[in-house]
C-alpha cells in the first residue's frame, strides 16, 4: 500500500476530519461527534468506493486549499462550492482523479453550508476509541482533536478507483437559507403549554450566531412551560430540541454532549438531520410536526435515495 498525504495550505473557516462517529461509550461521557450532514458524508465516500465509515474532511462555509500528495480519486458532496483543481473547475457529487502535486482550491459557496471531501481509502489519522471523528471540545480524534490548520499533513492512501462515479441528484439542499425540519414531540412535550407546540410549528426560528457543531441556538417566540422545576440530567441524542427555562431553544447537533438537563419539546427526525447540517447562523428553520411512523418512512425514502445513486456510472 502506497501512502500519500493531503497538505493543508489554507484551512478555510472550519475543516475537520469526520467519520460516522464514536459510538458505544456514551456511558463514560464520550461524545459521538461525526458529520453534521451524515448523508453527504456517506455519499462522498460512496463516490470514491469507500465504506460509509471512512474518514472524510468536513468543510464549513469557507473551504480550504489543499495540495494532494498522492495519485488518488476524490469526490465532494453536500454543500455546492466552486472548486478548482489546478485552476480547472471540478464537479460536485462526482468522483475525479487527482495527480500527485495537484492543488484543490475551494472558492465561493453557492448553496448549503457543509461539504464533504471523500478520498479513496479515507483519511488515515489515528483512530481514538474506535473512531477518527474530531470532537473539538474534548480535543479528541481527527488531527490532535482540533480543526485543521495551515501546514497540517494528513496521511491518505495513494489509490485510484475505476470511475468516474456520479449521481443524478442528492439531498435537496435548503434554499434561501431556510429549511423545513420535521419534528416528533417528546420526551418532555407535556412540560410545555399546549400552544407552545403549535407556536413552534407555525413560525420560523433564526439560527443565532452563537451556534456551532454542538448545537444551534434558535431565536424565535418563547415556548412557555406549564411545569416548573428542574429535569434530572438524562441521555440526549442529535436532533433533540432542548428548551432552557429562559432563553433560546437549542437544537443539538453532531458535537452534542452525551447528556443534558433541559426539557426537550421534540426531536428533529433522522431523515431531516442532514438538512439541518446544511444550515448556518442567520438561516431559518420551520418545524413541522410528524409521527414516529412518518419519521421512519421518511428515513427509508432518504436511504433509498442514497442506494439509488450508489455505483451509478456517469454516462461518458
Amino acid at each position: 500500500m502506497t501512502l500519500g498525504s493531503l497538505e493543508i495550505v489554507r484551512p478555510g473557516l472550519l475543516t475537520s476530519v469526520q467519520d460516522l462517529g464514536r459510538h458505544g461509550q456514551q456511558a463514560l461521557g464520550v461524545p459521538v461527534a461525526g458529520p453534521m450532514d451524515a448523508f453527504s458524508h456517506r455519499l462522498a465516500n460512496q463516490l470514491v468506493g469507500n465504506d460509509a465509515d471512512a474518514a472524510t474532511l468536513e468543510v464549513t462555509l469557507i473551504g480550504p486549499e489543499i495540495v494532494i500528495e498522492a495519485d488518488t480519486t476524490i469526490a465532494i458532496a453536500g454543500a455546492v462550492f466552486e472548486v478548482a483543481c489546478d485552476g480547472r473547475a471540478v464537479p460536485m457529487d462526482a468522483s475525479f482523479d487527482v495527480r500527485r502535486g495537484q492543488r484543490l482550491k475551494f472558492g465561493r459557496v453557492v448553496q448549503g453550508a457543509r461539504a464533504y471531501i471523500g478520498i479513496a481509502g479515507g483519511v488515515l489519522t489515528p483512530s481514538v476509541l474506535g473512531s477518527r471523528a474530531t470532537h473539538l471540545v474534548s480535543r479528541m480524534g481527527g488531527l490532535n482533536g482540533r480543526a485543521l490548520m495551515a501546514g497540517d499533513r494528513l496521511p491518505v492512501r495513494a489509490r485510484t478507483i475505476p470511475g468516474p462515479l456520479r449521481k443524478a441528484a442528492g439531498l435537496t439542499l435548503p434554499t434561501g437559507g431556510r429549511a423545513r425540519l420535521r419534528v416528533v414531540p417528546g420526551p418532555q412535550d407535556a412540560w410545555f403549554h399546549a400552544d407552545a407546540i403549535k407556536t413552534m410549528s407555525g413560525v420560523s426560528f433564526r439560527i443565532s450566531p452563537r451556534s456551532n457543531r454542538m448545537g444551534y441556538r434558535l431565536q424565535g417566540p418563547p415556548l412557555p412551560r406549564v411545569r416548573d422545576g428542574e429535569l434530572i440530567s438524562e441521555p440526549v441524542g442529535m436532533g433533540a430540541i432542548q428548551v432552557p427555562g429562559a432563553g433560546e431553544p437549542i437544537l443539538l447537533m453532531a458535537d452534542r454532549q452525551t447528556a443534558g438537563g433541559y426539557p426537550k419539546i421534540g426531536h428533529v427526525i433522522s431523515a431531516d438531520l442532514p438538512l439541518a447540517g446544511q444550515l448556518a447562523p442567520g438561516d431559518f428553520i420551520e418545524f413541522i410536526l410528524c409521527s414516529r411512523r412518518e419519521a421512519v418512512a421518511a428515513l427509508i425514502a432518504r436511504e433509498r435515495q442514497l442506494l439509488r445513486y450508489a455505483g451509478m456510472r456517469s454516462a461518458s
Binding site: 459510538h23 456511558a27 461521557g29 476509541l129 480535543r139 434530572i232 440530567s233 421512519v296
Partner: protein, 210 residues
Amino acid sequence: MLLVEFEPVIDPVVNERVIALAARLRERRARGVRDVAPGYCTVGIHFDPLQTDLAALEAAIAAEAAVVAALAEVPPRPPIEIGVSYGGDDGPDLDAVAAFAGCAPSEVIERHAARTYRVYMLGFVPGFAYMGRVDASIAAPRHRVPRERVPAGSVGIAGEQTGVYPVASPGGWQLIGRTACVMFDPDRAQPSLLAPGDLVRFVPLQGQPR
C-alpha cells in the same frame, strides 16, 4: 433514541436499576442498537431505525426492566480513592464554600472527605462523573458566571453534587481542590477512571508535592 424512564429521583437504588438495565441491554447486542447510556434515572438507547426491530427492542426492554425492578439494594463494593490537594491555588473557592457553610475551610475539607460518594452518571466531557451526595451544609451553588478555564483535575462542588474535571474546560462548579489522578485517558485499557455505579472517597493529601 429511546428513553426508558424510571421514577424521577436521584436515588442509589433507582440508579442501580438503571445501570443494570443498561448493562443487560448492552449484553443483548440487539441488531441496530448503537449505544446504551445510563443517566441518573433514565436509560438512553441509541439505535439505527432502519436496522432495528423496534417492537422486539421494546419487548426486550420490558423484559429486562422487570428483572431489574427486583433490585432492592445496592451491593457493597470497595470505594476508589482519589487523593486531593485542597485549598490554595488548587482549590480557589474553598474559602467561599467555607463562608457559605459558616465554618472553617478545614471543616469543609473534613466534611467533603468524610463521605463515600456514588457515581450516578458520566457526561459533560469524557470521564466527568456526577457524584452525590454532598453534605447539605457545604452544598454551595455553582457560580452564576462560569470560569472560562478550569484546570484538569480540579475537584468541585455544585449543590449536592461533586465531581472532578478530567480536562481543562470551562466550568461553573465551586473548586475546592485538585487531584493528580488521570480521570480519562483514551489510550488506557479502561479509559475512564470512574464508571456509573462506582463508589468514591476523596483523601486529603498533606504537604505532598504535586
